[in-house]
């Protein structure tokens, strides 16, 4: 086994370890920097949270609209809301399509409250 190979191996080892360290040092530095910025942001956040606690909506707008519309239809049709279905986690994720699913799903529940065939 000749020396060139080994020296090449040495060279690539040095480069390799060098790049690994440089790369992870950059990550370390970036994290440290981000933490600094984050401290400030968090201050702002804490105040925001205080406000949020009073203001923040607990369900997304679509659902809200739907429940409202459901309620409205109820009233229009003089019916009571039998139940409001909780979202399953799977569905709960803000998937455009699952929202559809939910939208129309809930809609149809609303509808199905009305006496059949009228």
């Amino acid at each position: 086994m000749d020396n060139d190979t080994l020296s090449f191996g040495l060279e690539i080892s040095l480069i390799g370890m060098g790049v690994v360290f440089v790369g992870l040092l950059l990550v370390t530095g970036a994290i440290t920097l981000m933490r600094r910025l984050d401290e400030r942001w968090q201050a702002a956040e804490r105040q925001g949270e205080a406000a949020a606690l009073t203001a923040a909506p607990t369900i997304d707008s679509t659902t809200l609209v739907l429940l409202a519309s459901a309620a409205a239809t109820m009233v229009a049709g003089r019916h009571r809301i039998r139940f409001v279905r909780r979202m399953l986690p799977g569905e709960g994720a803000a998937s455009a399509w699952s929202v559809t699913g939910r939208a129309v799903l809930q809609g149809s529940h609303v509808m199905s409250q009305r006496p059949r065939g009228n």
Binding site: F8, E11, I12, I15, V19, S61, T62, V65, L66, A68, S69, A72, T73, A76, G77, G90, A93, A94, S95, A96, W97, S98, V99, T100, G101, A103, V104, L105, G107, S108, V110, M111, S112, R114, R116, G117
Partner: protein, 374 residues
């Protein structure tokens, strides 16, 4: 030292270009819109991160890039280039969609047909800008506001523009809340926007089971070119409604749909390498795409007004905007615009009808274009 030089030459710094930097900024913007503004996050997060992956500069020949033979990204990208991700996504969408809004108010389906004018408007514009016909058709389909349909048709008629077409389609789908309201207000009177519609009628389980079968046979007979997309959409819906295949529908709309969505979004994003993506053609495609969304919205709204001329049971023309699909965002836009005028007027359930009808309409249009130009 040679090795070190080679390594640096193979590295990012050795291959950096302004284009890549620009695209990376664009990718970060997508992520910002998705995560902070909640614009279609399930699409924009994968696409945005894919843009980052696709624009890290490197020396060719390592088998890394999505366009390099034998690369993993290239392998996963085949689902896009061979066009089999979109039908599989439609399978999951079908297993997720409830068509009873359409079934309870069938005439609203026509709004979903009218909005397809956006496709052909953009097609014509593209011809006028000098694209040849198949490319023009692939660009026009952006107006269908359906990512999967756009990717499917583009992969067959204009593979070289696939990236630009897909990104344009998904971007504008995410931007419907910005694009549509002004157009709606421009084309409708305050009185029209305050129209209240009768609540939907109930829909029996039997209707829901029969619908996907009947609708598939009718539409596929009319436009066989749409068999793949419509077949998967209605098959998925039958799995959902049949009542005896719930476990298949569950998988189709969850693990199955999510997996394909991840891979499609990521690879479409990664296909936007600056060197191929940042071209004058892409700019033309984005302009035409924006126009097609505008035309489609106008088409839906105006057709609703036209129907009101002939029918006593008035339609609130706002919901015409939902005909472009971009499910369910455009239906939500309709609701929001309606609520501005009258907070107690709930049109979203009615808007869902043209919304899902628009998906079928775009697929039919894609079928026609495929049949005529392939």
């Amino acid at each position: 030292m040679e090795t070190l030089k080679d390594f640096l030459a193979a590295g990012a710094l050795g291959n950096l270009s302004w284009g890549n930097l620009g695209m990376i900024v664009a990718g970060l913007l997508f992520l910002y819109l998705a995560i902070r503004k909640d614009y279609e996050p399930l699409l924009l997060v994968p696409i945005g991160f894919g843009i980052l992956i696709g624009n890290i500069p490197y020396a060719a020949g390592m088998g890394i890039g999505i366009y390099e033979p034998g690369s993993v990204l290239g392998f996963l990208y085949q689902g896009v280039t061979l066009g089999w991700y979109p039908p599989l996504i439609f399978l999951g969408i079908g297993a997720m969609t409830d068509f009873s809004c359409m079934l309870s108010n069938p005439r609203l389906i026509l709004l979903g047909a009218a909005a397809q004018i956006g496709i052909f408007g953009a097609l014509w514009g593209a011809l006028w800008l000098g694209f040849d016909t198949p490319h023009a058709a692939a660009i026009g389909i952006i107006g269908g506001a359906d990512g999967p349909t756009a990717i499917f048709l583009a992969s067959k008629l204009a593979p070289e523009y696939l990236g630009a077409i897909a990104i344009a389609a998904y971007s504008y789908m995410a931007l419907v809340p910005v694009i549509q309201p002004p157009i709606i207000r421009l084309l409708t009177t305050r009185a029209e926007r305050r129209i209240r519609m009768k609540p939907n009628r109930p829909v029996s389980k039997r209707m829901r089971i029969l619908f996907p079968v009947v609708a598939f046979l009718l539409t596929a007979f009319i436009a066989p070119g749409a068999i793949t997309l419509l077949g998967m959409l209605f098959f998925g819906n039958l799995l959902k409604e049949s009542g005896v295949t719930e476990r298949l529908a569950q998988t189709a709309r969850n693990a199955f749909l999510d997996s394909i969505t991840i891979l499609l979004g990521l690879t479409v994003g990664a296909s936007t390498q600056a060197s191929r993506f940042l071209t004058p053609t892409s700019i033309k495609i984005f302009v035409l795409g924006a126009a097609s969304f505008a035309v489609a919205t106008a088409g839906g709204v105006l057709f609703a007004k036209l129907m009101n001329v002939f029918s006593s049971d008035k339609i609130n023309p706002i919901i015409g905007c939902a005909g472009v699909s971009a499910v369910p965002d455009s239906a939500r836009v309709a609701q929001l615009v309606a609520a501005e005028e009258d907070p107690t007027n709930f049109v979203i359930m009615h808007a869902m009808a043209p919304n899902v009808a628009g998906v079928i309409g775009s697929a039919i249009a894609a079928g026609v274009l495929l049949a005529a130009l392939r």
